[in-house]
């Protein structure tokens, strides 16, 4: 699957963002509970304060009753009691207004209210007694008031303890929440650090490093080392870039090779023309001289044989020099619309007798639908002649030449393909690389100049076509010639 760089960085940022959002939501949920608990804590502190005040109010409530019985008791103590009693009621009211959260509270508050009522009734009896001071009944009543008050104070303390217990529970819960928050912050930070680090490593591996490698190789290619290839196959922009770069390098290499080849051929052509011309004159002198000497000296068999051999050598030199001149020529080409099969047949007519002598069979496999091509017939004849003579020379013991023609489409161009197969000795891989080089020949002894295929390639390339050779030692050789169908002058 193709994953682009922007998609990679994007998904990484999305992951990072999602992590932050999840962390924030968790944090806010936990924090919400915490705030609730803080409120509750304040609430309980207030409640405990109220309970304390109630306890104190009960302690104060019995004082006017006791004071009333002391010698010289003030009759105003009754008013005092009423004031303190309403204070107690006020506290009850405040507590109820605050809300009775727990069942324990309701029970205790009911008990406290009962105690308050009992105290009020007992106090009324005391205040109603005539001559209460020193009165035995009054003493007994006061003791009862004290007892009820003690119980009430005890209840209030119980109430206080209940509040404290709740307070403690909430406090512990808050501490737990704090621990959870600490943990969350720690985990979140750790995860963030991991995510950022992993992201950096990932981006560096898949983006930065390939770009660095690419940069280094581009530099190297820039310095002229075209054999370097970039080994990055990732399915993203970098991979595309690497592939494009490799293609560019390959094309550059091809172009460079072509250029080198063209330059080589051009300079060879100039050299060949010069050498040919310079050699022809001494050769003409040698020919004339030999002819004269031949006429002047007595003729016996050996002298005649010697002259014949000398003349043959001169003729051979002349053929080689003519080849050189052909090679150097770029004489005007004459294109005409022709059937490539007819050109091949012309050559076969010339050679079939020779091929027959060597027991070489010719097999024709022509595709009749190939349109006519724009060809320089003379030059193309030379090409097929070279190829067929090479095939003949590869099969001294006889064999078969198969000539096949077909049409193909390569890179949007319609091409006529002509293949010439032989069943000869084949060409070793080392030599196969050089067969199109000028002066490369394996036929020195039989007078090969090493220019035939080189000239043939020049001609095929002049037609904007290509020629190449495949061979397997001992099995045979195939020459493949491709010519564009729409090429004209």
């Amino acid at each position: 699957m193709r994953v682009g760089i922007s998609l990679r960085i994007g998904s990484f940022l999305t992951l990072f963002l999602a992590e932050i959002i999840i962390l924030m939501i968790t944090f806010s949920v936990v924090m919400g509970g915490h705030k609730e608990n803080v409120k509750l804590l304040y609430d309980h502190i207030e409640r405990s304060y109220l309970v304390d005040e109630l306890r104190i109010a009960f302690c104060k409530l019995i004082m006017p009753v006791n004071d009333y019985l002391i010698v010289g008791g003030d009759p105003r103590e009754q008013e005092n009691f009423t004031d303190l009693s309403s204070e107690v009621d006020k506290h009850f009211f405040e507590m109820e207004a605050k809300g009775l959260l727990f069942d324990d509270y309701k029970e205790l508050l009911r008990n406290l209210k009962d105690s308050h009522n009992q105290i009020k009734e007992l106090a009324k009896e005391v205040f109603d007694l005539p001559n209460a001071v020193g009165n035995v009944e009054a003493g007994a009543l006061t003791e009862s008031v004290d007892a009820v008050a003690d119980k009430a104070v005890a209840d209030a303390e119980t109430m206080h303890q209940v509040t404290y217990k709740q307070f403690n529970r909430i406090f512990q819960e808050m501490q737990r929440t704090e621990n959870v928050l600490d943990m969350l912050i720690l985990i979140g930070a750790a995860f963030n650090i991991f995510l950022v680090f992993a992201g950096l490593v990932y981006i560096s591996r898949t983006v930065t490093r390939p770009i660095t490698i690419l940069g280094a190789l581009v530099n190297e290619v820039g310095k002229g080392n075209l054999s370097r290839r970039i080994d990055i196959n990732s399915k993203d922009e970098i991979g595309d870039l690497a592939a494009a770069f490799n293609l560019m390098t390959d094309n550059l290499k091809l172009l460079q090779q072509e250029l080198t080849q063209t330059e080589k051929m051009a300079s060879l052509g100039i050299l060949a023309a010069g050498v040919a011309h310079e050699l022809k004159n001494p050769l003409a002198i040698i020919t004339q001289g030999l002819e004269y000497v031949k006429r002047c000296i007595p003729q016996d068999d050996n002298t005649r044989l010697s002259f014949d051999k000398l003349m043959q050598s001169v003729t051979r030199m002349d053929i080689i020099i003519k080849g050189l001149l052909d090679f150097s020529r770029s004489s005007v080409s004459e294109y005409e619309v022709s059937d490539v099969r007819a050109v091949i047949e012309d050559v076969l007519t010339l050679t079939e007798h020779q091929l027959g002598l060597k027991s070489i069979k010719v097999i024709r496999q022509y595709d009749d639908n190939i349109p006519q091509l724009s060809l320089d017939r003379n030059k193309m004849r030379q090409v097929f002649l070279n190829v067929i003579i090479n095939a003949r020379d590869a099969m001294p013991q006889g064999g078969a030449i198969t000539i096949l023609s077909k049409e193909k489409v390569a890179q949007g161009r319609r091409m006529a393909v002509i293949e010439v197969d032989d069943t000869g000795c084949g060409i070793p891989a080392e030599s196969l690389k050089k067969v199109f080089d000028p002066f490369f020949t394996t036929k020195q002894k039989s007078g090969g100049t090493g220019l035939g295929l080189s000239i043939s390639r020049g001609i095929v390339e002049m037609h904007k076509g290509s020629i190449h050779m495949e061979s397997e030692s001992g099995k045979g050789t195939r020459v493949i010639i491709e010519l564009p169908l729409n090429y004209g002058r």
């Binding site: 011309h277 003409a284 020919t287 004489s331």
Partner: protein
């Protein structure tokens, strides 16, 4: 009567052997010149039946020599055969085409070819 044949070529050794070979046939009167100017002088003086002219000479090209010969009333009628170390017909034509000379011989050349050429040109 022997035909007068003139060879103009900067290769003196070639001229030496050609003259020897043709003299040996006894059919020709052979003149040679290794310098084009001298060749023109001989042509004007001796009025040869046929002139063999090398195309590539350092002093003057065979084409120019042929042109000079055609401009002179005395020599304009003499047929010219180009001798050349260049092979192709089109090159012969570009060097001599303007003066109508079509005949050529490519070096190296055999004595029998020279004689055949003389016979075919002079009929």
């Amino acid at each position: 009567m022997n035909k007068k044949v003139l060879f103009i070529d900067d290769e003196t050794d070639f001229l030496f052997f050609v003259k020897l070979n043709l003299d040996k046939t006894g059919r020709f009167l052979v003149y040679t010149a290794d310098d084009p100017q001298e060749g023109i002088k001989i042509a004007k003086k001796e009025r040869p039946d046929i002139i063999f002219l090398d195309i590539c000479m350092p002093q003057m090209s065979g084409g120019s020599v042929a042109e000079l010969l055609s401009e002179d009333r005395g020599t304009s009628g003499i047929p010219v055969v180009f001798l050349t170390a260049l092979v192709k017909q089109d090159e012969i034509e570009s060097a001599g085409g303007s003066i109508g000379a079509r005949d050529y011989l490519a070096k190296p050349v055999l004595v029998e070819d020279i004689i055949a050429k003389i016979d075919s040109v002079l009929g």
